[in-house]
Amino acid sequence: MPETPAPASATADAPVPGGLIRGELERELEQTDNRTRWLLSLPAILIILFFAAAPLLVMVVYSFLTPGDYGNVKWIFSTEGWVNVILQRDIFDDTLIWADAHLSIFWRSVKLSIVTTLLTLIFGVPTAWFVATRPKGKREFWLFLVTVPFWTNLLVRTIAIQELIRAEGVINNLLMALHIVDQPIQMMFTDFAIGFGMTYVYLPLMVLPVYAAVDKLDFRLVEAAHDLYAGRWTAFRRVILPMIKPGIIAGSILVFIPCLGAYVTPRVLGGGKNLMFGNLIELQFGAGRNWPLGAALSFTLMAIVMVALIYYVRLTSREEKTDV
């Protein structure tokens, strides 16, 4: 267990037994303390190093190999995996052309992620506001209500959406019973289904950070804005919005990133045709039998996620600077 760093002892310059001078002893204690802390962290570090971090490094190597005939790889160097991320070779004359199939999947991933983020903003921000402005005693209850779906199984929630929008699902049955439509609307296996499903499953990720931001909001400032004759809209735009912006940015990034890498929701609701990034990667390790391409695609996805994260960090650090 960690020891407190030895408090600056009262025995200021007194010689320490063992012939050490004070500074040396302190340094020695500090080094022992560092060692203890590293040893304590070691199990966690090793577990993550072996089963999360190192496999990524192995995958770097695999992305530069040649695909095997039945999956896996041949140990022959090749950059083809990386080239194939956005380009493909013409079967007949070997010239490189744009890989339209991949580009359209990237575009779908980015498009649906942006749309989902916007939809979760539209529904999530008012929800977070509503929960955070409940009177003290009731707030816990509302917060609990929006948190429970967050902890319920993602696959189960996706199945719930599937049953809602299937051809014989609740929505279609309802529309037909009301004679609004004669035939069921095809909603499954469309981009709409994926966007709808992702909005549903990732919505709590937007609500929680925005809630935290509204919770910290000093309403005296809003009050002051109204006293100074700001209308509701002006007060919202000029006072409230700038103050809850960090929560909105955090929520957007928390929704956007899992959307980009989503696998389960597009697989269940998008079917075999409406692939997203995650499904394209899976395909290379399954029927596509092109592990190097799959590895290269994985790093492409990671790179996009990293860019989003860096953008987020820069955005928030600038926020903090302007706050001061």
Partner: protein, 275 residues
């Protein structure tokens, strides 16, 4: 719900805490969050084979799921996996949290912190295929296939989830009680067992429950790491979706939802104690 309880602005007729339309959208959203789940639960009690036509109340799909050996095997495997992974992850996370909180900056602190959170930064599908590559290689080289691969993979992504609540708990504790215990001649072991551990216990339990839920819910990494015949409940359900879906899937989902709801309530209750 009553906006009347909110203080109104003196010269305007409304509260500055309410924004026009927000309450309506919020109530609709909360309704929309629950409606699909409730419909799913409702159809698990359907007497018919259909997910569309209500044919009366029945528990037959629960009975069928309970007699389906594939479901039972998958459930036992899921529990075994989640308990092992959450257990190991919580021990490792507790040690790491003790090492990285309540301290000055020490060399490597940031690195340890970044490493522990690494599984949260990388998209799950990427970790999944990377593990597939490494484990495929090991499986071919050793011919050894057992649950150990799944347990290892799950433990790794459970560590950050177990770590966060434990760390949060530790940060609310200071050293006064521990110092007092030491002043009273407690040995380091006694200080830890009698003072530190009891104080951080709610954090440890919360962390372990979080890790357990995360492991139970995992589809992506499990789907890529599992060997033949190692279905867990989520991968079993994902496989079922390819076939004709019967309310049996709803029955299993409902059981998962109920178990999850109990755990979340416990989690909420535990983290409330903290304040």
């Amino acid at each position: 719900m009553s906006d009347t309880a909110l203080p109104r602005h003196s010269s305007r007729g409304y509260s500055v805490r309410s924004l026009p339309g927000f309450a309506v959208i919020a109530l609709f959203t909360i309704f929309a969050l629950y409606a699909p789940i409730l419909i799913l639960v409702a159809y698990s009690f359907n007497a018919g084979n259909s997910l569309a036509i209500w044919e009366g109340f029945s528990l037959k799909w629960y009975a069928q799921a309970a007699q389906n050996s594939a479901v039972i095997d998958a459930a036992i495997r899921s529990l075994y996996l989640a308990l092992s992974a959450a257990g190991v992850a919580t021990v490792a996370a507790t040690m790491a949290a003790l090492a990285t909180t309540r301290t000055r900056r020490f060399p490597g602190k940031t690195m340890i912190y970044a490493l522990i959170n690494q599984p949260l930064m990388v998209p799950e599908i990427v970790t999944a295929v990377a593990l597939l590559i490494v484990f495929a290689w090991i499986k071919v080289a050793t011919g050894y296939t057992s649950m150990i691969y799944l347990i290892a993979a799950h433990t790794a992504f459970c560590v950050p989830f177990a770590y966060l609540p434990i760390r949060a708990r530790l940060e609310t504790m200071d050293y006064t009680l521990e110092t007092a215990a030491r002043d009273l001649y407690a040995t380091p072991m006694q200080v830890f067992m009698r003072v530190t551990l009891p104080q951080m216990w709610p954090g440890i339990i919360a962390g372990m429950m979080l890790a357990f839920v995360i492991s139970m819910d995992d589809v992506v990494i499990t789907e890529f790491v599992k060997s033949a015949g190692q279905e867990t409940i989520p991968t079993y359900m994902l496989g079922q979706l390819r076939r004709v879906v019967t309310p049996e899937v709803n029955a299993i989902s409902t059981v998962i939802l109920a178990a999850g709801a109990i755990l979340v309530s416990l989690f909420f209750w535990l983290s409330r104690e903290r304040r």
